[in-house]
């Protein structure tokens, strides 16, 4: 039996070393690494479908004296998110770095991030979850700090402060878990059976983890790092930050909402998520930086996903997994297009950008379709997600469950305003050269076809999720 899960984590380490040695082929190696990741993910999914169970696990010894193993395991959510993250990383590696800016370090960081992301979705216990979490946070930090745009230093420190705070809480929760769980088990599945612990400890673990993941998702009021980080990062950085890093939090939420104690907090968390969705939707209206605008839509979408997780219903949870999948693809596409706009016009301010569609027609239409995708137009994957999430919400909260859907109106209305202002109206030809490379075209078409494929044929993923 091939240790597929171990390979998924270990192979990128090899590629990382290769980038260190073969300096000239760094970009190629990163692409190969991401393709390997995608292939292995598909192999794991195929195994899961053939074995008709999404739960695969591999256990290796690690720190035996503390009863901590190197446990890798998959479940429905992790398989879906792995698929999404490997597609996004593949496209990021292939077409994210349009200007070929410092390719070696960019590739290095991307492969490092790949290790972190894959590890988080595969981790079977909280200890290695924590390790991969930090790897997954450090790589984007450098993507902002080194490869970012003008305001990158402030943004990156803000990002790392929030994230380090989150990982401190995570560590604290892990320690609590270690001392109070029977047999010092840190296994993620043990979280579901914490009802034997004292209530105070359960509450502490839940709240500590909740705040940690809430920062990462992000949910109001701990969202402030996101707009800065996403807008100042390199295009590759924005794509993985928004597409994948925010899903770490979502994935974590799925884990902790399996805790029995979660029921008593679900209502208030749902309320917070609903507020967060509208809050961010209103904040979008005050933005003028095209990457900040897209960054804020991430908060709206992730808040809706949080809302769906907090319904604690089967359709709500399935919908949130589907929603994270769809949003990862859609937002990566939006950031890829936004990066192309920045590359072509050397500007991100919508008050200055005019008539983008005249010089960069393909990019303009891709951006438009990205907006359709995040507002949940049918036949895109987001629609399926919206249907599941809000049916779960209605069954949990009745009429109030439908309210957060209307944050999409506010968001969509402003997005159409942006499209009108900067993309279509205002015929003002600039000398900008809208040439698009083949790599970008591949990037657009892969993300686009994935969005529509899983929107038209939802049974592929639903088979995994419902199994």
């Amino acid at each position: 039996m091939i240790p597929l899960l171990l390979l998924m984590v270990a192979l990128p380490v090899l590629f990382l070393a290769m980038i260190g040695v073969l300096k000239r082929y760094s970009s190629l190696i990163a692409t190969i690494s991401s393709i390997t990741g995608l292939a292995l993910t598909l192999a794991v999914i195929a195994t899961a479908i053939m074995g008709s169970s999404p739960n695969i696990s591999e256990n290796y010894g690690y720190i035996t004296s503390l009863n901590i193993g190197f446990n890798l395991r998959t479940n429905a959510a992790s398989l879906v998110l792995l698929l999404m993250s490997s597609i996004v990383i593949f496209i990021t590696a292939l077409s994210g770095n349009i200007s070929k800016d410092r390719e070696r370090i960019a590739s290095l960081l991307l492969v490092l991030f790949q290790i972190g992301a894959t590890g988080i979705f595969l981790s079977g216990n909280l200890f290695i979850f924590f390790i991969f979490w930090d790897i997954g946070v450090i790589a984007p930090f450098f993507m902002i700090n080194v490869l970012g745009s003008a305001n990158r230093k402030t943004a990156s420190y803000k990002f790392i402060l929030y994230e380090i705070f989150a990982s401190a809480l995570l560590l604290f929760a892990i320690l609590l878990m270690y001392f109070y769980s029977p047999g010092h088990s840190l296994s993620i599945s043990a979280l579901a059976s914490t009802s034997t612990m004292p209530v105070g400890i359960q509450e502490s673990i839940f709240l500590l983890l909740f705040i940690a993941f809430m920062i990462n998702m992000p949910i109001f009021p701990l969202h402030a790092w996101l707009p800065d980080a996403h807008s100042e990062a390199s295009t590759q950085g924005s794509m993985v930050l928004s597409g994948i890093l925010t899903k770490f939090g979502g994935f974590g939420m799925l884990i902790i909402f399996a805790m029995p104690i979660a029921k008593s907090y679900a209502g208030i968390i749902a309320l917070l998520a609903a507020i967060s969705a509208f809050y961010a939707a209103f904040l979008i209206m005050r933005q003028s930086d095209i990457k900040r605008i897209v960054a804020h839509t991430t908060i709206v979408e992730m808040s809706i996903i949080m809302f769906a997780i907090a319904t604690l219903t089967v359709p709500g949870t399935s919908g949130s997994i589907y929603g994270m999948f769809a949003h990862g693809l859609a937002v990566a596409m939006l950031f890829l297009a936004a990066g192309a706009v920045e590359h072509i016009f050397h500007d991100r301010n919508i008050n200055i950008l005019k008539g983008i569609s005249h010089n960069a027609k393909l990019t303009a239409y891709i951006f438009l379709i990205g907006i359709f995708a995040i507002t949940g137009v049918p036949l895109t994957a987001s629609f399926i997600a919206d249907v599941f999430m809000f049916i779960g919400a209605i069954s949990a909260f009745g009429l109030f469950g439908i309210v957060p859907l209307f944050s999409l109106v506010l968001m969509g209305a402003f997005m159409y305003f942006v499209i009108n202002k900067s993309f279509f109206a205002n015929k003002e030809r600039t000398s900008a050269d809208g040439f698009i490379t083949v790599r970008q075209k591949i990037g657009y078409s892969v993300l686009l076809s994935a969005l529509f494929l899983f929107g038209i044929l939802p049974f592929i993923l639903l088979k995994l999720i419902n199994a």
């Binding site: 904040l283 005050r286 089967v314 359709f372 009745g398 049974f459």
Partner: protein, 593 residues
């Protein structure tokens, strides 16, 4: 035959015309390909129309729990009627487009978008459940956005497209919310299942009422009902064939069509009154505003708004057959009138003001077809519009207020449409206009033939109404009242605009009083401003929050700084601190028990 087969010719036509646009040499064939696709789909749809009522289950798209989300197509009843109308009008629109759209470089994009638009509408007409309906509904919204903003290089069409998509977005989300609420009650999205489940409901349900109202908001946005109607006049910035299509058998009819499909549900929930109320208000606003516009197409846009209001009035009175008769005849005359106005604009170098275009009396074909359209819309016997108007009026006869309003609307309709027809006639006398009238002799046949066909269809439908008994049902009293109001309107128009043309011209006081568009746009502006204000307040709050976190972190840093003072390596400080500490320990040990 499977109903989806009817969409294939259009689909391939659209794709092929897009591909033909790759080279300038082949682009000129795009229109032929698209037209062939439209004719193919039209013939297949007419074949489907003649099939017995049937429903086709496509697939179980996905399931939640044990409940499946099926995609279903349905034929028969209102579905077939709408499909038939699209089948009749769509090839005419494509044919008209071949003459109208003579911009060489944009052909393939135009026909691609138009084909997708038609496919969406046909799918909408065939849909047997809410899911299929919603897919088609969103497809319509997006393709109409692309078509309205077709000339996006200019600001006006791009702005109009944005207004349209924003209004449509509100409706889409409201409708999605309504659909999901409906599903949560019935666990099915099939129209017939919903309607039959609604009949067995007992008591009132807030849940369902909210769902139905949300769906109604969706229907109102797409069918341009007050207060969501302003986008439709802006939509006139799109190419004229698109306007003709949009206003006759497609797009704006989608909302009316939905309420027709779900009528039993609305009846059961006692929610007909919003349709009656909003429909009446919209009809009045539409007919009055039509009087205040000089734009040759916008007059007709407001007229469409009025027509849709009348349809909702008929549905609100639970008069399904009246609504459907009017639904049918309106498609014919509105397509004809809009094509006429497009032709007039084409002959006048795209000038749009009725005071600036030259008289088209010289072109007999154009004049006669426009006249037939005008007579039909004002409801003059024996044109088919008459039967539609009388059917709606008869339905309203039980409600005196609505009946009075509808009669006034009949009068206003005749007034504005004859203004539309007569004012350009008068322009002939002005010297500087004569040069332009030459344009009428250069018009392409491909633009005139569809008009002729539609004019014939208008008369043909009257004959059909005599055969299938619709004409016999027309109440004589109501017919006389309707005819009198219309004739009075036409005569008033003749007196006002033939003799004293300055009435209601631009800048006149009467127009300022009558035009409601500004007030509504101002209201929208204030709503947008309000949202902007809220956004601003939230931004200030957000900045404050940021500041708080910043202060928190700098507080920690400050603390670190203070602690650092103690570690300077100054031995005196260390000794002093040690001494003070020892004394403190001593004090505590001694005095604290």
């Amino acid at each position: 035959m499977h109903p989806l087969v009817a969409l294939l010719p259009l689909f391939f036509g659209g794709i092929l015309s897009l591909l033909l646009g790759a080279s300038i040499k082949t682009e000129k064939y795009a229109k032929h390909v698209a037209l062939a696709g439209a004719i193919g789909s039209s013939l297949l749809s007419i074949y489907l129309f003649m099939q017995p009522a049937q429903s086709y289950q496509l697939t179980n798209w996905f399931s939640i729990g044990q409940y499946g989300f099926q995609l279903t197509l349905s034929l028969g009843g209102a579905n077939s009627l709408l499909l038939f109308l699209i089948a009749v009008i769509s090839p005419l629109i494509f044919f008209y487009s071949t003459g109208y759209m003579n911009v060489p470089s944009e052909q393939s994009r135009y026909y691609f978008e138009l084909s997708l638009f038609t496919i969406s509408m046909m799918l909408l007409a065939m849909s047997g459940d809410f899911l299929t309906f919603f897919i088609a509904w969103e497809g319509l919204g997006i393709t109409s956005y692309l078509l309205i903003g077709f000339w996006y290089q200019r600001d006006a069409p791009a702005d109009a497209a944005r207004t349209a998509i924003t209004t449509i977005l509100i409706g889409d989300i409201a409708m999605l919310a309504g659909i999901l609420l409906l599903w949560s009650s019935f666990h099915s999205l099939n129209f017939s299942a919903i309607n039959s489940a609604a009949l067995t409901l007992s008591g009132s349900s807030t849940y369902l009422a909210v769902a139905a109202l949300l769906i109604l908001v969706g229907a109102f946005t797409k069918s341009a009902q007050f207060p969501f109607h302003e986008w439709l006049s802006g939509a006139m910035e799109g190419p004229t064939p698109v306007s003709a299509f949009l206003h006759s058998s497609t797009m704006v009819k989608a909302g009316v069509f939905l309420t027709v499909l779900l009528l039993p549900l609305f009846v059961k929930l006692n929610l007909l009154w919003p349709m009656l109320l909003i429909g009446t208000i919209t009809a009045v606003i539409g007919s009055i505003t039509a009087l205040t516009s000089d734009h040759i197409k916008k007059i007709l846009a407001y007229s469409t708004i009025e027509d849709l209001g009348l349809m909702f009035v008929a549905i609100g009175l639970n008069a399904l057959s009246a609504a459907l008769i009017f639904f049918t005849v309106q498609a014919l005359y509105k397509a004809l009138l809009l094509m006429s106005s497009g032709t007039i604009m084409k002959a006048n170098d795209d000038r749009t003001s009725i005071y600036r275009v030259s008289s088209f009396g010289r072109n007999r074909l154009l004049f006669v077809s426009a006249l037939i359209g005008a007579l039909s819309i004002s409801g003059i016997f024996p044109f088919s519009g008459f039967f539609g108007k009388v059917a709606v009026d008869s339905a309203a006869s039980s409600n005196a207020i609505v009946y009075a309003v509808l009669t006034a609307v009949d009068f206003l309709t005749a007034l504005y449409i004859f203004r539309w027809l007569l004012v350009p006639m008068e322009n002939q006398k002005k010297a500087h206009q004569t040069a332009y009238s030459a344009g009428y002799s250069l018009l392409k046949k491909s633009m005139q033939i569809p008009q002729l066909v539609l004019a014939i269809l208008i008369i043909l439908f009257s004959v059909i109404f005599f055969y299938n008994g619709v004409a016999q049902q027309a109440n004589l009293d109501h017919s006389i009242v309707e005819m009198a109001a219309s004739a009075f309107g036409a005569i008033t128009a003749y007196i006002m605009f033939k003799k004293a043309k300055n009435v209601l011209s631009e800048g006149s006081r009467s127009r300022k009083i009558l035009y409601t568009g500004n007030a509504l746009n101002l209201a929208y502006l204030y709503i947008a401003k309000f949202f902007g204000l809220v956004a601003h307040a939230i931004e200030i709050f957000d900045n404050g929050l940021n500041r708080l976190f910043y202060m928190g972190s700098s507080g920690v840093m400050g603390l670190a700084g203070s602690v650092k003072i103690a570690e300077k390596g100054n031995i005196n400080t260390y000794i002093a601190a040690l001494a003070i500490g020892l004394i403190l320990v001593f004090i505590i040990l001694v005095f604290v028990p």
